[in-house]
Amino acid sequence: MTAPTVLEVKDLRVSYGDAGGRALPVVRGVGFTLRRGEVLGLVGESGAGKTATALALLGLLPPGARAGGSARLLGTELIGLPVRELARLRGRHIAMVFQDPLAAFNPAQRVGDQIGEALRIHQRPRPTGELARRRAMELLEGVRVPDPARVARSYPHELSGGLRQRAMIAMAIANAPDVIVADEPTSALDATVQAQVLDALDGARRATGAALLLVSHDLGVIAGTADRVAVMYAGRIVETAPVDALFATPRMPYTLGLLGSVPRPDAAVPLTPIPGTPPAPGGAGPGCAFAPRCPLVAAQCRTEEPRLAGSAGHLAACVRQDALAECSAAGLFPASAPPRRTPPGGAPLLRVTGLAKSYPLPGRSAALGRRRPRQRRLALERVDLEVRRGETVALVGESGSGKTSTLMEIIALGAPESGSIEIAGYDTSALSRADVRRLRGAVQILVQDPMASLDPRMRVADLVAEPLHAQRYPKAAIAAKVPELLRRVGLDASDAERRPHRFSGGQRQRIALARALAVGPELLLLDEPVSALDVSVQAGILDLLRRLRAEHGPACLFVTHDLAVVRQIADRVVVMYGGRTVESGAVPDVFGAPRHPYTRALLSAVPLPDPPAARARVRVVLPGEPPEAAERSAGCRFRGRCPVYAALGVERTRCEQVTPVPVGADPLSGHTAACHFPHDTEGAPGRLGSEPEEHPPVR
C-alpha cells in the first residue's frame, strides 16, 4: 500500500473518572495508522475500549474523561487541541457515523436541513439555504436513498432505521472528509437493512476516497468490509493484521477464542465460549490482561504485559504466538456440546393455526364527537407453526414481522382474535382456571434483556424460587431445588444469596434461565435470549441451551433475528414476514435450499465471519424496508421487495390478487413455503441466485 497516511494514532490513552475521583483507564496505549481509502476494522467485545477510542479521535469524550497520547490527522495533533480548532476539523476532515441514528439526529429538525447544516458550517462561501438543501438531496441520492426529496423533508422519527442511518452517512460525507469513524453503524438494524447500509457506507467511502475506521463487535460485518483488522481487549490492541490473515491464522488466543465463538450461518459447529470475563477498567493485573482466561498462559504472561510483535503487518501482543500456530479454537477452549443431528420426532406440543392479532391505531378518542370505528393495525395476519416435544423451533424474521407478538399471544393463554393455539392438547380459547394454572407452569418465557427482567432488590434464590411459590410447591422442596437449578445453568450454589447487580449480562441470563426452568416447563419461549450479549458470552448460553436439550429439557420456541444462531441451536425454523408465516421446515433443508425469495434474501444478508467467503458470496440486497404492520390485504405481502416478482411478466397478477398459502415441495417433506413461485431445484419460474449476473456481488 502506497497511499498516504491520513491518521496516525500512537499510544492513545483514555481514562474515565469514577465516582471516587479515581481515573479508570479504558484505553491503554492504542496505536494504528490509517491510509487514504483504507478500511480498518476495530473489533472487540463491550468494554474493550472501542467506542472510547473512536470518540477520543474526535474529542467527543463525555465530560470527566481524559485523553492522552497522540493522534495526528494529516499532521495535525488532535489530542489536546483547543475545542475551537477541533470544531474546524470535525465534519470537514474527520466525520463520525453513530450507532443509534434516531438519537443522533435532532428530533425537531428536518433531515435535509441537518445535512445542509454540515455544509453550511464548513463550506466557504457559505451556501445559501436553498443550495444546501439541494446538495443535501444529492448526498442522499449518493447513498442510494429512494425518493431523496421526501427523505430530506422528513423528520428523523418519520424514517425507518435503515433510511436514518443512510442519511447519517450522507451527513458524514457532506464535506468529503479524509477519515470517517463509524461506531457500530449497523448494530441496531436487521440483516437485510444492514446489507443496504454497509453498501451505502462502502459507496460513500469510495466516492470520497476517505479512510474508514469501522468500530464493530460483529466479526461478520468486519470480515465483509475491512481491509485490516485490529482486535481490542481490555483497552489495548492485542492483534492486528490484514483481514484474511487475521481470520485464517490468528496469533493471539483471545482472537482465536473470539472467532471460535462466532456462530456461522453456513454450518452447525461446536462453539468455543471463552471462560471468565474481561477485567473491569483498572482491574487488570501487571501482566497480560487476558492471562486469567488464557489456556496457553505462561509464567511470564502474569508479570509483564506483552507488546505487539510479529511480521508482515501481522502483529500480536502475545508471547505464545508461535505456539498458537498449531492450535484450533476447539482444541484450546472447552468446546460446547455438539449440535444435534437428528431432531426428535415427538408428538406435537404446541400448535398455532391461522393466528391473527390486531391493535387499534392511536388517536380519535370517543369522549366527544362522533364515535368512529377505530382503525386497526394488523400485527399478525396468519401464523402457523408447530413445536413437537423436545424440539427447538426458531422463529425468525425482521423487526416488525410479528415474532414477539406471536410469543405474547401464546403466553397470554387466552382466546386469540382468530385462529387457534393448542398447548399440550388444550385449546387456549377454552381453558378453565385450573387449566390456566397448570399451563402457566408448563409454559415459561425467557426475555431478551436480563438487566430488566430481574428485580434488582431480590436475591437470586428468591428470583429462582418465585415460579415455584406461584405453583405452590412446599417450602422444603423449594429450598432443595434452588441450588440444583443454579448448578444446572452453570452457576454456583453460593450465588443464591447475592443480588442480580453483582452478575454480568451472561450470568444474569443464566439466572433468568434457572427461573424459567424451575417449575420443569414443557415449553420454553425464548425472545432474543442472546442478542444483548457479547459473542463469547453468547456462545456460552447457546452451549447451555444445547446441553439442556441433550438432558431432555423442554421444547423451545426460540425467537431471533440472527440466522447464524438459528443454525447452531434449532431443529426446525419458521420464517415470518409481515405477520405471516412464509416458510418453515427443518433447519438443514431451509438453510440448504430456501424456497421463499424472502428466506433466500435473508440468508444471503447474514454476515459471514469468513473474508474470502464473504467476498465471493452473491448477496441479494432487498430494496425497501420491512413492512409496517398493515391493514389486511390480498396478495403476497413481500411482493414490493421481491426480486422474483420484479422479474415476472403477466403471471405477477397472481402475487397481487391471491394470498399464497404454505405448500410443501412434496407432501412428505414438511418443508413448506407460502410463495406462488418458490425456488425449487427443478427449473421453477422463480429460480434465483444461479444467475449471478442479475444480482452482482455487492463488493
Binding site: A95, F105, I121
Partner: protein, 327 residues
Amino acid sequence: MVGRLSRRLAHGALLLLCSVFLSYVIASAALSPRAYFEDRQPRPSAATVNHELALLGTDDRTPVLARFGQWSWRAVHGDLGRTVDGDAVNAEFGRRIGVSTRLLLIGTLVGTGLGVLAGVWAAVRRHRLPDRALTVFSFLVLSVPTFVLALLFKEGALWFNQSAGHTVIRYTGERTPGLTGSLATHVKDRAVHLALPAATVALCAVASYSRYQRAATLDVLGSDHLRTAQAKGLTPGRALLRHGLRTSLIPLTTFFSFGFLTLFTGAVFTEQIFGWPGMGSWFMESAQKGDINSVVAVNLFAAVTVLLAGFVADVLHAVLDPRVRSR
C-alpha cells in the same frame, strides 16, 4: 394537528363547565349572603333580606341546582348577575380583568423567560458557583409562601424609599391617581407601580422554571444529537444554542400548563398586598362579603385562563416538537 387542537378546545369547554358548576355549588355552600344582609345596621326585616337575596338569585331557600340553572341561563346570555352591593358583576369584571391580565401576563412572560435562561446557565455551569447559588435561591423562593415574599418586597421598598429620601418605588395601586401629563409619563408611572408585584409573580416562576429547565438542559447536554452537532463541526456552545435549546423546551411546555395555576394562586395574594384592584383582590373581598356571584365570576376567569394556558402549552409543544404534530 388542527383536529387535535380543536378536540382539545372541546375538552376544555367541558372542563370549564364542570369547573363553573363546582365553584358555584361550593361557593353556595360555603358563603352566606344572608348573613351579610342580616348584619347590616339597622338590621333589615326578614322579608327585605329575602327580597334582596331573590334579586341576586342567591336565595338559599331555592335548591342550589335551580339557582345554578337560573345563573347559567343568564351567564350564557352574557350577564353574570349582580354583586351583593347591587352593582353589575359584568362591569366590575370588565374593570378588573385588565389589571389582572397585565400582572399575570408580564409576570409569566418575564418569569418564564428568566427561568429558562437561568436554568440553561445553571446546567452549563453545573456543580459550579452559579449553579449552586441558583439552587439555593430557588429553594428559598419555593419554600417561602407568596404573600411573605410580597410583604418582604413591600418592606424592602419602604426601607429603600426612606433611605433615598423620596418615593422611588411605588408599591400601592396600579397607577398614581389624578396623574396628569403626556402618555410617556403615564406609561412610566404604570411601569414603576408594576415593578414589585410583577417581580413577586415572576420570581416564583423563575424559581420553579429554572429547576425544570436545568434538568431538561442536562438531559439534552448528554444527548446523542448534541454530540452529533459537535461532530459536524459546531462548537459546544453553538451546538447547545442551535440544537439543544429547542428540544430542552419541549418538556417544559407540559409543566407550563400546570405551573400557571400556581402562579395564579400566588397572584391573588400579590394583588391583595400591593393594593391592585384585580381579580385576586376582588375574590378576597367578595369571599368575605359572602358574594357568591362575584366569587363564581372570579372562578370563571381563573378557569378560562388556566385552560387557555394549557391550550397555549399544547400549541407550543406542537410548534417545538414535530413528533406530536403527526399524531
